[in-house]
Every structure is written in C-alpha cells, then in structure tokens.
Symmetry: C2
DNA sequence: GTTTCACGTTGACGTGGATCAAGGCGGCGC
DNA sequence: GCGCCGCCTTGATCCACGTCAACGTGAAAC
C-alpha cells in the first residue's frame, strides 16, 4: 500500500514522432481501430503520435483533464486510486490493445501508472472525439470494449468482496495464465509458465491485500503444489484444474 | 449471505400490454432512449412491452441467454453473483432509467433480482439490436451509460478492497442520500431523510460484509450522531459533511 | 388474543488477515 | 571486494470482522 510517495520522473510521456503505419500495428486486431477501413486507418496514421513511459511513470493523474486519449501498444499499466490516508486500490490492468481515457469530457476519475515500459498510441482529445463521431465502427468497438471491461470490473468486485486471500491469489494467477496462453495462441495447459509483470505491492493493491499476505499465500499455494516458483516473478502451473479449484470459481478449465 | 435459497415465484415477469406512449414515459429523460427523436419514439412505442416483478423475483438468471433487453421504469433491482458455496456479492443496483442486459449476445454474466416491486420496459433482443444499429443516438447513449457504470463499478472496487466496515456503510448512505436528493431535485442538505429499499442482507451483500456487521456499524454511526434512525429502513442525516468525512473520501459535500 | 415468520439487534468468542519487526537476497554503484 | 537499496520473506502479535447463538419486534395469518 503505497505511502503516497511521489511517482518517478517522466510525468509527461515523451512524444515519439517516428510513427508506424496503422496497417502494420501490433494491436491492429484488438484495439479500438480494429473495425476501421483502410481509408480511416490512413487518417488515423497521420493523426497519431506515440508516447513512451518508463516503469512507475504517471500516465494519467486523477482529477486532471487529460489532453489525450489512446491505446496501449506495449507494456502493462495499472488503473488505481489513492485514498487520502495512503491506502491504494488498483481497479484494472491495461494491456496492449486496451483503451486509455474517456471520450467526451470529465476529469480523469483514476490514476493510470505504468508498471513496465509502456508505449501508447495517442490522439489529441478533440481530434479523437471528432473521429469517433465520424467513424461508427470506432464507436461500436469502444462500446464493445467498455461492456467487456464492465463485466471484468464486476467479476473483480466479487473477488474483492467475497473471496479469501488464497482464492484471490489463485484467481489472479488464473487470469495471468489465460492471458499468457492467449498471447501464445494456445489454451492454458498443465505446465504453463507465467511471468508476472507486477511486484508484490502491485498485486496487493490489485487484490485488496497487504504485501505480507500476498507473499504468504503464494507460499501456501506453492506448498500445496498448486504452483511452482522459478523466481519471485516466474511461476508454472503443474495442474491447471487444481489452480481453478483454488480460485473459488466452479468453472471448468478454460 | 444468501444460503442458496431458491428465489420466489414470478420467474417470468408477466407481460403487461397496456403500454404507455414513450413521450409520456417517466424515464424519458434518463433512459437509453433519451436522445431519440419523435419518429424513433413512435417505433419504440409499438415495439415495447412492460414486465412487472414482485420483490425477490428473478429478472435475469446468470448463465442463461436472455431473450429481452430493456430499461428499469420503476423500482430497484440488484445485479449479483452467487458463488458455489453460497457466498453472494452484489455488484450493482438498478434504478429507474438504468439499462438491463447486454446487446449483441453472450449469456448473462450475473443474476438480476428485483428488490422492490419492479417494472421494466422490455424489447425482444433481436428487435432491439436492430434498433440500436439504426439509431445512432441510442448507441451513443448506451456508450455513455456504460462508461458511467464502469466508473461506478471501479469506485465500488475501492470500497470493497480498501474501506473499513464503517466507511462502507457511510459511503453507502452518501450514495443513497445523493440519489434521494436528486429525485427531489435538490442538493443533499443537513436533515435529509433517506429511505432504504434494501434489507440488511442486501446491504451486506452489496458491501462485502455480514448482516451482523452491517447492523453493528449502523449502530455505531447512530451512536456517533452521524445518522439518526426513524426505523430500520428510514434514516436522516443531521450533518451531511460528517457523513462524508466518515466515508473515507476526502471530498466536499456535493 | 396467539402463533408464526421474516427481519433486525446484541453478545460472546474465534480467526483471517493486518500490523509491527527483523532479516534474506540479488543487482548496482563505487 | 563492500555497501546500499529495492524487493521479498518470515515470525510474532493484534484486532476488525466473521461466526455462532440468543433474543427482540412488528406484521400478517389464524
């Protein structure tokens, strides 16, 4: 639980102008622009700029009017809120393809902080708002993405409100495993290796726990044989179904 | 925490055909149709039907393909999930104007259960999906509503993950007070009377607590003079700022 | 009136996870 | 090499909230 320490350097992501054409973009299939035609992509290509951030940099500050909107291209970032007395809760993770910011006004309701090195494809807010009104496929895609995020947020509310510390950790590893498997274009299977981009403190803030409890429950899952640790940030799952069973969900291994 | 008791009667909301014209609708200003023109409202008027539910009725069952989408017209409902062992977490409340269901497929990810008497303005799913594609104002309004709900869900994640039991109760009363004040078209002010539609069990499920803790913390807030109880479901707030201070937020009274 | 039953309160006690504290480990600067 | 500094782990203790249990209260059925 971050003690209100100021966030490192690079508050303004240095803008990087040597942009790539949208047709060759790594998040072409997943991002808000995935439904755009080639003409629309041409427009987007000339309007965008990249921004890079080192780990721990502030991408969006709660309460400020953000002057850009955009998509995660590389890296992982966290959406979080800091209470007045230093308690922190992470309310979401942003991976490549995910959208950052809220079109059509209002100050940012949460902080966005980079966890790894992060690259963002950014648009000036007013310009982006024009685009989205002119390109129905973008608005439809944003709606779809927002509905997905709402469902994920509600899933997480169940975790925060009703799951035990151990179930929280197991659920987090299930999600991390599914994401890793998806990146490798395969189904999660026994023996899957997972690399965690988050520190224990980040996990604690995401799961509504303390770092000590995170550490202890990881130890307990390891002792129970549900996970194996290569080092603090790399683990493997010998039995995927056992991990699901430990997560408090009744589902089958998917 | 509901012990997996079966939900009362009225699983299928009886359809009520004596419909009102959309122009005279009570949620005309707030619902997904608020941006529709008179021609569009004509279309909606002929397509809609009302459904009524008594308290405790199941409106949507998790895992089922819902055959209708719609808007809350009257009453309060809860969105919740029941874990295999009976733990329950409420993840949202639905008030008049709020949208029910997810357009463009997928089985329902949560239960929706009426808390009071509820009336819904319902559309056949396939018909509604045609409408939303033909009426950009509906899609834009749904996006706006979904973005608002996502922010609310994330606010609630902060509460579930990091707030104490007493802060949870105070925050819940702040929200209930704001909603009451908005219904009365005034700002929340000292002396405001709040009627709670929820039982202690509903509150417990919403706040990630037990009924005993809810009861005790309400007692503590009463003893501290932050609230006054008329009866178990009616309270007044002598000092609005004191309630905000007890909620763990640093904001001013709004 | 009495019974019943859902809902709410209150008390005694247990415990999961927080807190407080110490120490281990690996990378980096010197 | 050595010291420093994040990051992580582990142990001892505490306490907020859960659990278990009893009882109150009011409305509806009879």
């Amino acid at each position: 639980m971050l003690k209100a320490t100021p966030i490192a350097d690079a508050v303004d992501g240095p803008i990087n102008l040597d942009r790539q054409h949208c047709l060759d973009c790594a998040i072409r299939e997943d991002a808000i622009c995935s439904g755009c035609g080639t003409g629309e992509l041409e427009t987007l290509t000339t309007a965008k700029s990249y921004r890079n951030y080192g780990p721990g940099a502030s991408i969006v500050l709660m309460g400020e009017q953000t002057e850009f909107l955009g998509s995660m291209v590389e890296g992982v970032a966290g959406i979080s809120r800091l209470l007045a007395d230093g308690r922190r809760q992470m309310v979401g993770l942003l991976y490549p393809g995910d959208f950052i910011g809220r079109p059509f006004s209002y100050e940012a309701p949460f902080d966005v902080v980079s966890i790894t090195d992060v690259r963002i494809c950014a648009f000036q807010r007013s310009r982006f708002e024009t685009f989205i009104r002119k390109m129905p496929s973008m608005e439809a895609r944003l709606l779809e993405m927002t509905l997905d995020e709402l469902d994920s947020a509600r899933d997480w509310m169940v975790l925060l409100g009703r799951k035990t510390a151990q179930e929280k950790l197991a659920t987090f590893f299930v999600l991390a495993g599914r994401r890793t498997a998806r990146r490798l274009r395969q189904a999660p299977r026994d023996g899957l290796m997972i690399e965690l981009p988050l520190t224990r403190e980040d996990m604690a803030d995401f799961l509504g726990l303390t770092i000590e409890t995170v550490s202890r429950q990881i130890g307990a899952l390891k002792k129970a044989g549900v996970i194996r640790l290569s080092d603090a940030r790399r683990l493997s799952v010998p039995n995927w179904q056992a991990l699901i069973d430990a997560s408090g969900e009744d589902g089958e291994a998917i």
